[in-house]
C-alpha cells in the first residue's frame, strides 16, 4: 500500500498512527501539510530517519515549493504530481 499523509506531524498523529499499520517496505507519501515531516533540522528529523530505515518516504514537490521549503531530510525523495500518479500506478492507496 501507498500510505498518504497530508497533515503536519507537528500537529496531528496521522503519520504515527499510519506507521502502526504500515508493513515494512510500504512507501509513504507526504503531501499538503504532511510535507513538514521532511523539514531538515527539525525536532522530528531523528524519528523520520528511523522511519526511512523501513519505508521509502516521498514528498510532493509542488507542495514543498508552495511552502518555500528548501532543505529536506537526506534521503527523502521528491516526486511531482506525475510521480504521485506513478506511485498510485504501482500501489493501491490509503489516505490517512
Amino acid at each position: 500500500m501507498l500510505h498518504m499523509i497530508n497533515k503536519s506531524p507537528f500537529e496531528s498523529n496521522s503519520l504515527e498512527d499510519c506507521l502502526r499499520y504500515a508493513s515494512d517496505g510500504s512507501p509513504i507519501l507526504l503531501y499538503e501539510d504532511g510535507i513538514y515531516g521532511a523539514l531538515a533540522g527539525s525536532a522530528l528529523e531523528a524519528r523520520m530517519k528511523e522511519i526511512m530505515a523501513k519505508h521509502d518516504v516521498y514528498v510532493l514537490k509542488e507542495d514543498v515549493a508552495l511552502r518555500g521549503i528548501e532543505k529536506l531530510i537526506d534521503g527523502v525523495k521528491e516526486v511531482d504530481y506525475s510521480g504521485f500518479v506513478g506511485l498510485v500506478e504501482e500501489n493501491k492507496a490509503a489516505s490517512w
Binding site: 497530508n6 509542488e62 504530481y81
Partner: protein, 119 residues
C-alpha cells in the same frame, strides 16, 4: 489504468480539492482514464456555481468544469451529503451531476485505483 477519485472536503477551507484536481489532471495527462470523481461530505461544496473568487486566486469550481469539458470526466455529487449542505440542482455548475451514493460503490468496485482526498 482506471482511476477513481473521492473528495471529502470543500474548496478553499482545505487543500484537499486542490490536490485532487492536480492529481486528476496529472493522471489524464499520463494517459489514464478517470472513471469518475465522486464528491462526498463537504466535497459537495466544490460544485456550486455561485462561487465568486478574487481575481488573483484560482476559481476551484471553474477549474473542475474546464477539466471535465476537456477530458470528459464524470463528476458525481452525493445527493444525501449535498442536501444537508444546501447544494441543490439550481446551484450545481456545468458538468457536475447530483447522484446517489451507489455511484461511489460502483466506482470502488470498478476503478483499479481509488484515491481519497480528505482533511
Amino acid at each position: 489504468m482506471k482511476f477513481g477519485i473521492l473528495i471529502l472536503e470543500g474548496p478553499y477551507q482545505h487543500e484537499a480539492s486542490d490536490s485532487a484536481y492536480n492529481f486528476a489532471k496529472a493522471a489524464v495527462e499520463k494517459g489514464h482514464e478517470i472513471s469518475r470523481v465522486f464528491f462526498y461530505q463537504d466535497g459537495v461544496l466544490n460544485a456550486t456555481k455561485l462561487m465568486d473568487v478574487q481575481r488573483d486566486d484560482r476559481h476551484i469550481q471553474e477549474r473542475w468544469t474546464d477539466l471535465s469539458k476537456e477530458h470528459g470526466i464524470e463528476y458525481i455529487v452525493c445527493v444525501a451529503a449535498a442536501k444537508r449542505r444546501g447544494i441543490v440542482d439550481e446551484v450545481v455548475a456545468e458538468n457536475f451531476k447530483i447522484g446517489g451514493l451507489g455511484m461511489l460503490t460502483d466506482l470502488a468496485i470498478e476503478a483499479d485505483r481509488l484515491v481519497t482526498f480528505r482533511a
